[in-house]
Amino acid sequence: MQNPYFPYPVRIDEVITETEDKNLKTFKFVFLDPGDEKKFAYTPGQFGELSVTGKGEIPIGIASSPTEKGFVKFTVNKVGVVSTALHNMVPGDIMGIRGPMGNWYPWERMRGKNIVIVGGGFAFTTLRSSIVWLLDPANRKNYGDIHVIYGARSPGMLLYRDELMEWERRDDIHMHITVDRADTPDWKYNVGFVPAVTEAKAPPGDADTFAIVCGPPIMIKFTQPVLDKLGYSHDQIIMSLENRMKCGIGMCGRCNIGMEFVCKDGPVFTLNQLKKTPREY
């Protein structure tokens, strides 16, 4: 019997400090047993449990794309016991990863459609995974227009800045990067909150367009009416939730919203699905 609680042992290969407040770091992990990498086959939108031996586990969205081989990447915000311990670790350290867990963005349903990705703050991790995956030549041809609206408090708080710039230069993806305030004079992109930029830049909703929304509750709260106004059907607004989790496999009982477990039945839900469940997230 396979033990779903068993973390695959991994080695930290690289640690990248992402933001100017140093609270967000991206960790690149390599599996000690290459066979485990195959078992960890994932799809953008899924998450894993990072297991710092001796401290505990935290559920974190997978930031790398399945098209990137030989490693997995997670971007972690420093908030609690485990994430703090993780931030103190260095390349070469051994720890564990469990997963992949949860469902993913509905790539099959969205095949042939336009996709608008709306993200804010450090909730951009699985969105990075999605964008890298979408831009892979094998996948890009299967989807229509791609818009990305991504905002952070300031330019220094944007994740994956080099990649954002690279995507800006491409013509097969429409990037709308924004910051709440630009504190550097050379900022040449948008200034303003994500909902406002969405209203100005996102294409109108129709049967062929899906929106993927992932961000802090306040952003979601104000983005939703904008998408309504643009005519997006609630069945085509895709959201990714976060709740406190332990097991990640729908057993420990804490992350439920109604009868659904965010860890197993989610974290990805359509707005339509969410409207039928109690708002406990």
Binding site: M1, Q2, N3, P4, Y5, F6, P7, P9, L32, S51, T53, G54, K55, G56, E57, I58, V79, G80, S83, D93, I94, M95, G96, P217, E242, N243, R244, K246, C247, I249, G250, M251, C252, G253, R254, C255, N256, I257, G258, M259, K264, K276, T277, P278, E280, Y281
Partner: protein, 350 residues
């Protein structure tokens, strides 16, 4: 299935024979109350209590259980790598479990043994156990098993069911596992199915406490969730975990790492939806930060979410433990009644 008749003297001799092929567990008085405990050779299970204070769930799902162990000593090979500890999954005989507690395992199984994931600790323990049930001829006044999907003579989840008939037990052997145990104990006298049925009928009639749950499945989740009565129902609650820890069907747990020196382990501990920390995010945000939200979660889970998710009735076997042990008398029977009768917009007395 077949019927047996076991004289009490043969019962005692048979139990003696089980030590060896089985680890034997049965009710034992510890402090003020009876609980299930591992019995030593020569010890007999104590059938004098109506039911154990804690349910039998701890036998299969201990309150604290080791999942993994590891070393943090960098000089040792495979440091920081989790290893499964060696555990005893040899056969266990559970003697004198009440039908409600046995039925509860079949509900908990839905959570730990799913098509996608299997909890190996629970599953291996459960597979190791042979359950010898003891039917209830004198149900407690707070028992409402017959309206919670089971009953004093229910055989669900059992391998053998005993009924006390004075000098002897009438028994039903229900499964292959049960046959093995009966053979190991050497019980063979032919039984009396008619007498068994008559006792079962009489016992069922003695369960006077009932709950109505028929309309729960038809309710709209968000209506019940938004119902006005939760604040009132939750007022007395002190947020202890008594109800959930005593409950045979509650399965929620926490995962904790503990380190002593350079050696550590990962533990699975019972947890309770009554505790504020249960759902607290790292950021401090808490979707169920208020007492009323947590009380609502407990009852919504038992009486609505579970009903909808599995279509296997309510997540409760009517053992009455939470009813009698709650320090402030929050009574699931009353809550079920209110939820079952609730219509949005209509006034409802709490």
């Amino acid at each position: 299935m077949r019927d047996l008749k076991i004289a009490k003297t043969d019962w005692a001799k048979g139990v003696e024979k089980l030590f060896g092929p089985y680890r034997v567990f049965g009710p034992k008085k510890e402090g003020l109350f009876h609980n299930f405990a591992r019995l030593e050779k020569g010890e007999a299970p104590d059938f004098s209590c109506k039911n154990t204070r804690l349910s039998a769930k701890g036998l299969i799902y201990p309150q604290t259980e080791k999942m993994f162990e590891y070393t943090l000593d960098p000089n040792k090979p495979d440091h920081h790598v989790h290893k499964e500890p060696v555990k005893d999954y040899s056969p266990m005989a559970v003697l004198g479990i009440r039908p409600c507690d046995a039925k509860a395992f079949t509900l908990v199984k839905l959570n730990f043994d799913t098509p996608e994931y299997k909890d190996p600790y629970w599953i291996k323990n459960y597979a190791a156990a042979t359950f010898v049930g003891l039917a209830c001829d004198a149900p407690c006044h707070a028992c409402f098993c017959t309206s919670a999907g089971t009953g004093p003579y229910d055989t669900a989840g059992l391998d053998v069911l005993l009924a006390d008939a004075g000098d002897f037990f009438l028994a039903k052997v229900l499964t292959e596992k049960g046959e093995k145990l009966v053979a190991a104990a050497g019980w063979a006298g032919a039984g009396d199915a008619g007498a068994f049925e008559a006792k079962a009928k009489a016992a069922g009639d003695k369960v006077v406490s009932k709950v109505n749950t028929a309309k729960l499945a038809g309710k709209v989740t968000n209506d019940l969730h938004a119902a006005p009565f939760w604040e009132d129902l939750a007022f007395a609650c002190i947020n202890c975990g008594t109800c959930t820890y005593l409950c045979p069907t509650c399965w929620c747990f926490d995962i904790q790492d503990e380190v002593c020196g350079t050696e550590g382990c990962r533990l699975k501990n019972w947890d309770s939806c009554m505790y504020p920390l249960f759902t607290m995010h790292g950021t401090g945000h808490n979707p169920r930060g208020e007492k009323a939200q947590r009380v609502r979660q407990r009852f919504m889970h038992k009486l609505k979410y579970f009903v909808d998710k599995y279509g296997a009735g309510i997540h409760c076997v009517g053992c009455g433990r939470c009813v009698t042990a709650c320090p402030v008398n929050i009574d699931i029977r009353r809550v079920a009644e209110i939820m079952n009768g609730y219509e949005p917009g209509k006034d409802c007395a709490v």
